[in-house]
Amino acid sequence: MSDERLYSISIEVNGELREALVPARLSLVDFLRDTLRLTGTHAGCEHGICGACSVLLDGEPVRSCLMYAVQADGRKLTTIEGLAQPDGTPGALQDAFCETHATQCGYCTPGMIVAAHALLETNPAPSEHEIREAIGGNLCRCTGYQQIVDAIKLAAEKRGTPTV
């Protein structure tokens, strides 16, 4: 372990440039959680099934357990921490999850919110089918998908309402 070669990487995480020396086999989710201590991103299955570790890579949702940190060198990442408002309070989508009790046990929530955020960025008024499609790669073991779909619908409605 100790003689493993280290690679120098620099990744923009939530708008801040982070530099580190990492072994090639360090997954992106472990880099975020263990190296940067950004523990909002959850590690679930660690082989690309559950979606709990979803983050935005240059704005697109990807599974951070299916990437090595070295592969993200020079790229821009947004994690669940980066989706809060600048003052740290929850964003509209996060609020909607609270309002509809979509968080439930909370384990899948960061991945769900990242997936839903990416959906609403490209499709501000999604149909229920499109919402289910967008979170199709995220497992919720509380089996409470209905509230999650409701939350995303609510967030879309709120976003659509011009704030006076």
């Binding site: 070669r5 090639a24 082989h47 690309g48 090595y68 592969q71 790669g137």
Partner: protein, 309 residues
């Protein structure tokens, strides 16, 4: 669920990537999207000593539609092996020229995996249920393999040898896939395609999949048909013999039923935890029937849309 240690290289050119493969042989693996390789490494089913990252190579990102679709003979739509599935999904040129691939991509994994997974990566992985591999076989695509000594071309129909085993050598890199584009058709000719599969949940690996692309004349007689079945044999199954049998025949319900039964007879499924061999053969027939019917409907509605313009 952590990969064993490995060394990482991110070459700047395809030639450099091929040199690394030549140097390290079977100890090196190429990684692009990594959506199949990384889980295999996490489970230690794969333990490469070197990972050669080709995801940023511009040479593998080419998307080239035929300049003009020829009046006779197939044109070719070239897709770089490193083109991400999400890019092809959104590419208007692909929708127009390769509608079957565009339809198949909707069945490939989930948004998060399509954002990283590549067209070529799915092919070289060699999973028997992979949608892109099936389309490549059904359309009779050509695969261009590169190594330090140059370029080799192999038909997709000869590339797959067994589950997860392909004809690619450790020192080769799949560079481009050339999908045939059917020549422009006279106004009375109707053309359509369809892709269907059955999986436990949408986005999961297909138990069995089927796809078809066809051309009918105004009397619904079959002028050209390609049909294929995935997940029901050790390799993706292109069935040009079914197309040959149906040539000139009216594609009515009886013909569709007979063709689907013939397709199921040609399947050679294995049973596993997820589905028995019998069930897979049953699905092969049912799905072949569905895609033939759906492709015919697609052809008829495309022709109506064309007439309405």
């Amino acid at each position: 669920m952590k990969a064993a240690p490995f060394e990482y290289a991110r070459p700047a050119t395809l030639a450099e990537a091929c040199s690394l493969l030549a140097e390290h042989g079977p100890d090196a693996k190429l990684i692009a999207g990594g959506q199949s390789l990384v889980p295999m490494m996490a489970m230690r089913l794969a333990r490469p000593a070197w990972l050669v990252d080709i995801s940023r190579l511009a040479e593998l990102q080419r998307i080239a539609a035929p300049a003009d679709v020829p009046a006779r003979g197939d044109g070719h739509f070239t897709v770089g092996a490193g083109v991400r599935q999400c890019v092809m999904e959104r590419e208007p040129l692909a929708r127009a020229n390769l509608p079957l691939l565009a339809r198949a991509l909707r069945w490939v994994g989930h948004a998060q995996t399509r954002n990283r997974g590549t067209i070529g990566g799915s092919i070289v992985h060699g999973d028997v249920s992979a949608e892109i591999a099936l389309v490549a076989c059904v359309l009779d695509a050509a695969l261009e393999l590169r190594d330090t000594s140059g370029v080799t071309e192999i038909p997709a129909r000869e590339f797959f040898l067994a589950p997860m085993v392909t004809a690619i050598l450790p020192e080769q890199c799949l560079a481009e896939i050339r999908f045939p584009v059917w020549p422009s058709a006279a106004a009375h000719i109707m053309r359509g395609c369809a892709f269907e599969e059955v999986s436990v949940r949408h986005g999961d690996f297909a138990l069995v999949s089927a796809c078809a692309q066809l051309e009918l004349d105004a009397d619904e007689r079959c002028l050209r048909l390609e049909l294929g079945i995935g997940g029901a044999a050790p390799v993706p199954l292109a069935l040009p013999q079914i197309g040959a049998q149906l040539a000139g025949a009216r594609l009515d319900e009886a013909a569709i039923g007979a063709a689907a039964a013939a397709a199921a007879d040609l399947a050679d499924p294995e049973g596993d935890l997820h589905a028995s061999a019998d069930y897979r053969r049953h699905l092969a027939r049912v799905l072949a029937e569905r895609v033939l019917r759906a492709a015919k409907e697609d052809a008829m509605s495309n022709s109506k849309a064309r007439a309405g313009k």
